[in-house]
Every structure is written in structure tokens, then in C-alpha cells.
Amino acid sequence: MRHYLSNIYLGVYTALVGMRITFKQMLQPSVTHQYPYDRSFEQKKNVREIPKGYRGKLDNRIEDCIGCKKCELICPVDCITIATQKLPKGERLWDSMNVVHLKDRTEIVGNIEGDEKPASNTTVTINTRDDRTVNVSSEEIANIVERKPVIFYLDQFDIDMSLCMYCGLCTEVCPTECLIMFDNLSDGVEYSTFDRTDLIYEFAKPEMYEQPADESTEAEAAD
């Protein structure tokens, strides 16, 4: 009899305990983010920290690209397509920019005034890409990518990101370091598109050859 009553009591009591828990849970705010529609959670801390190994997507500073096709060759999945026209022999459009790697792992893109290989304990002046002038001690510099002459018209520089496997080999072989994996988080991590052809990134800008008004670049190249 005691067993019987105890069963009844436990049945009722445990059910009530469970129901109390679920009711409390119901009153708690839900944790769902209505993601594509409501982005207010992005302002919260620690919600969108990108892990360290994140590479981002490929980006190309097309003015610095010399059309060497090394990236096209090394790409394991053949997602890069490049078409070039060579200039007449001895002519060149301009030089690519220097990329200065500092020891604190930042990098500055721009043209170094004067010698590309500065002596030790001198101050190096860099005219950066976005028209600033930066002075850096040569002790801080870890590595400098040399300028290279641009002797190809780039008619086509397409990267099919739907094929890309994000290995980053192309950025390693790039002699001017203009092809980079770019993890600018202001663009977000949303690379998906509704049309597959939107995933073919076309970097070639034919209009930059047509404008001789691009004097600043050419003037720098003449230096």
C-alpha cells in the first residue's frame, strides 16, 4: 500500500517539478537571433569574433598586378582566369607599389621615396596608396616587396569564388602581393549570393588604361 501511495505521490510531484521548470523557461527571453533581418545582436560583445585562422575572400589591387599568371598556374582548382596583352618591347605602363611589412605584423602599401633598399638606421618615407605620408624607422621594417614594371594590359582577371578552396597559394606566389586574402569584417562574412555568376569576381578594370589622366600613378612610376 505504501508503495502504491508513494508511486502516486512521486508521479504527481515529479510532474509538477518538471512543469515548474518548463514554465520558468517559458518566461525567459529566447536566445534566437533573427539573423538576416535583425542585426542588432552584432553590436553585442563576443558575438561576432572571427577566429584567428580566418582568411576571408580573395581581393586584388589590380593596379599593382603585373599579369605574371603565377597565381593562375598554381591554383589547384583552376579558379583564376587571366587574359593579357603584352605591351611593345621596352614600354611599360607603370610600376607596382611597394608593400612594406613591419615587424609588428602590420603592412603599408605605397611607394618608398628614394632607395627601395634603405640602409639601416634611417627614416623611410612612404607615400601610401591612400595619399598619406608615413615615416617609418628602417629598424621596424621586416621585409619590403620590390616594385615591378607593369608590362601587360590585363583584359581579364576573373576568380570564380564558387570553385576557390581558400588555400591561399595564389597570394603566396604573387610577386607584388597585390592578390591577397582579405578579411575585412565590415564586409561581413556573407559571401553567398542568389546567382552563381555573382561569385565570379571580375577584377580587371580596362578603364584604368584608357585614362592617361591617371597621371599621379604614372608620375610616380616615372620616379
Binding site: H3, S6, Y9, L10, Y13, G18, Q25, P29, S30, Q34
Partner: protein
């Protein structure tokens, strides 16, 4: 008791009472219709009632399905459907449209006729129950003298539909689900019937409207009239959950075991019919529980104690007397409790299900009947003293059970003496 189970009386109750109800309605509310030839006006009123119910009742599941999804979502810290309409209120409608356009598939090896017919049987029966539930003093499709008996009878036919669906599908899952459903519903009909009997003994009538009429004000609600009906209400409610196949008693459609149980092979609109019937059933059993135990369309405050004059008095009186609001609020609360239980408790095993019914609910129900009978012998009908004693007894009983008795009982049952015996019973 005014009931005698003879065929002429049965006929009289069924036909004449409903006729007289419609006649009364025509004379009181629509005297224009008396100019029509004799039965035509009454038929029109009956038809109007039918149309209203057939049109309104299918809308209930639309709301209830969404409510279920929302309740479950919030219990699990989610938000539920949010896309279709503001806060997803049109989600069920969208699902319904989708189901209408789905392929209506009938198994080649199945029994086509039974397969086609069974959803309609379940649907029709679960909707016929609504005919006898009083939603207000005058909001009632048919005032049957044997209302609760009719409800018991018509809701038992649902199990026929379930078995037909399971058999006609020619599928293991369906058949197993149907068999389980039959065993479960037939078993749980008994405690439900016995609990209803306690109410009928107190109300001295099978007429739903008569049962409600004695329950004006919260003290007069039958759940508080005696301590035994208090127990009976919970037995009834849990058995009702089992009867409408909801978790923790959803063995007939156990997703993890039987895919979807008896409606595994159904698709499209036929599946939607099962779905609608399930939620309509849920609402119906809750409404029956409200009618029998929780005062039906009566409010918490007795009608005499409402203010006589003034706008407040008028509004309160209108709300209480029309009763629709009271019934719907109380019923929706019980439906919410059903959902709450569903998202709290896991499913029972088959033997546990049968244990609960045959070893616990049925003896307790008999005990209740005995208790109510003795209570009726001791106290005169509807005396204030009996109500006070009963409420005090209920409160003391709850305190005693959960405060004093709980400590000694919560140590848990001792291990069963012969575990081999239990294993045998588990195979049934």
C-alpha cells in the same frame, strides 16, 4: 435521476428536446419565422447553427497549432514561426495551403475505400462533439437531455476511424499505431466515464446545460463541491490527454518509434484532416472538462453578486450571461496546460500507460464515486456548509500531502520484489 434508458425515451430525448429547443428559439428571438410552414423556421435556425459551427470550429486548430508551436518554442528558448505575417500568425494558413496542393497519395496495396473514408470519420466525430457543448446560456447547437452520454458515445467512434486508417494503410507503422490507439482509448474511456459519473451524481442530470446551471460562482464549481470531484477532475484531465493521444500518452503516433503512427501513409488534405481533428479534439475535451468541473459558461463571481446597474454591471452581466468568453478563456487555459505538459514530460512506455490506467486511475475513480455517494448521503444537496467543508478539506489535504506525507513518500518505491514478473508484463 431523470434518465431512464428505454428506447422511446431515448428517441424522445434526442428528437423532441432538440425540436423544442429550436421552437423555443424561434418563438422568443425570431417570431418572423413562425409565419413559415411549421418545421421550416426551426430547420432554418438549426441549419444556421450548424453552418456557424462548421465554419468556426475548423478555425480553432489554425490558432491552436500556432499556439502550440509558440508555446513549445518559448519553453525551449526559441521564438517559433516568425516569417509569415507579423509574429508568424499566418503560418498555419500557409501550411494549410501547402497541404491542399500536395499530392494525395493512396497506397496501392491498401484498402482504398477505408483509407479514403477514415479521415472523414475522425473529422466528423470530433466535430460532432461540439454540438453538445454549451458555450453560453443560449449558445448551444443542440440541447440534448443526454448530452454527456452523447459526447462519450460519439467520441468513442473516433477510435474506429483510427483503426480503419491503420488497417487500410497496409503499413506496419500504421497498424501498430492503430492497435496501440485502440488499446489506449478503450482503456482510458473507463476512468473518463467514471469521473463523469461522479459529476452526474452531483448534478443529477446528463444534460450539459443542467450540469452547468448548478455551478454559478467559483464555490459552486463542481471541482470544489466535494474533495472527491477535486481528485476526479485531475483524473479526468489526464485521461482526456491520453484519449486525444497527446504527449506523454502519444504512443499511437510516437514519432521516434512509429514514424507518425496511424497516419503515416496519409498526405495532403487527408493528413490535414487528421491534424485538424487532433486539435479540435484537444479543444473539445478541454471544453468538456470546463463544462463538467470548472463551471462551464459561469464566471468566477456568482451572477447575483454582480452589480445591478451601471455600465460596469451591464458589461459584466453581458459577459457572464453570454458565457462565450468565460468558456473560451477557461478552455484555452486547459489547452495551454496540455501543451505545457506535452513539452515537459517524456512519452510513457506501453506497460506504464496501461499500469497508470488500470492500476491507478480506475481504482481512484471508483473510490471517488464511493466518496461522492457518501458525501451526498451526509450533506443535503447544494448546502453552503458542504461547500465550505469541502474547500477546507481540499486545502488541508493538499497541505498534508505535499507537506507532511510527501517527506515519507518521496523516498521512492522499493524495488519490485520479482523483477522477472515485471519483464513479462512489459511485453503486453
Amino acid at each position: 435521476m431523470p434518465l431512464s434508458l428505454q428506447t422511446e425515451n431515448l428517441h424522445q430525448f434526442f428528437v423532441q428536446s432538440s425540436e423544442s429547443w429550436a421552437q423555443r428559439f424561434v418563438q422568443e428571438h425570431a417570431p418572423v419565422l413562425t409565419h413559415l410552414p411549421a418545421p421550416l423556421g426551426e430547420l432554418l435556425i438549426m441549419l444556421a447553427c450548424c453552418v456557424i459551427f462548421v465554419a468556426v470550429v475548423p478555425l480553432l486548430p489554425l490558432g491552436l497549432v500556432l499556439a502550440e508551436r509558440k508555446v513549445s518554442a518559448h519553453i525551449q528558448d526559441r521564438v517559433g514561426p516568425m516569417r509569415v505575417g507579423p509574429h508568424g500568425i499566418l503560418q498555419t494558413l500557409a501550411d494549410g495551403v501547402k497541404l491542399i496542393f500536395k499530392e494525395d497519395h493512396i497506397p496501392r496495396e491498401g484498402d482504398k475505400f477505408l483509407f479514403v473514408v477514415s479521415p472523414y470519420i475522425i473529422f466528423a466525430c470530433s466535430f460532432a462533439v461540439f454540438a453538445a457543448i454549451p458555450f453560453g446560456q443560449s449558445i448551444l447547437v443542440s440541447e440534448l437531455n443526454i448530452g454527456i452520454f452523447y459526447i462519450m458515445a460519439i467520441s468513442s467512434v473516433i477510435v474506429m476511424g483510427v483503426i480503419m486508417a491503420g488497417w487500410a494503410s497496409n503499413s506496419k507503422w500504421s497498424l501498430l499505431g492503430a492497435m496501440r490507439s485502440a488499446a489506449q482509448i478503450v482503456s482510458y474511456e473507463i476512468p473518463i466515464g467514471l469521473c463523469i459519473l461522479t459529476v452526474v451524481m452531483l448534478a443529477q442530470s446528463l444534460n450539459m446545460q443542467e450540469i452547468v446551471k448548478g455551478q454559478d460562482g467559483i464555490g459552486n464549481w463542481l471541482i470544489f463541491r466535494t474533495p472527491f470531484t477535486f481528485i476526479a477532475f485531475f483524473v479526468f484531465f489526464v485521461s482526456a490527454i491520453a484519449e486525444v493521444n497527446r504527449t506523454p500518452f502519444d504512443l499511437p503516433e510516437a514519432e521516434s518509434e512509429l514514424v507518425a503512427g496511424f497516419h503515416t501513409e496519409y498526405s495532403g488534405m487527408r493528413f490535414a484532416l487528421f491534424f485538424i481533428a487532433e486539435y479540435a479534439n484537444m479543444f473539445a475535451v478541454s471544453a468538456i472538462a470546463v463544462t463538467l468541473f470548472l463551471g462551464g459558461w459561469h464566471g468566477i463571481v456568482p451572477t447575483e453578486m454582480l452589480p445591478e446597474s451601471g455600465i460596469l454591471g451591464f458589461v459584466l452581466r453581458a459577459i457572464t450571461l453570454s458565457g462565450l468568453l468565460g468558456v473560451v478563456i477557461k478552455t484555452l487555459f486547459l489547452v495551454f496546460v496540455m501543451m505545457w505538459i506535452r513539452w515537459t514530460l517524456p512519452r510513457l512506455r506501453v506497460d506504464q500507460l496501461m499500469n497508470l490506467c488500470w492500476k491507478y486511475f480506475i481504482p481512484i475513480s471508483f473510490f471517488n464515486i464511493l466518496g461522492v455517494g457518501i458525501w451526498g448521503l451526509i450533506f443535503p444537496k447544494d448546502s453552503l456548509l458542504s461547500i465550505i467543508i469541502s474547500i477546507v478539506a481540499i486545502i488541508l489535504g493538499l497541505i498534508f500531502t505535499f507537506g507532511v506525507l510527501g517527506k515519507s513518500l518521496s523516498k521512492g518505491p522499493e524495488p519490485p520484489p520479482n523483477s522477472a514478473e515485471r519483464r513479462v508484463s512489459a511485453t503486453t
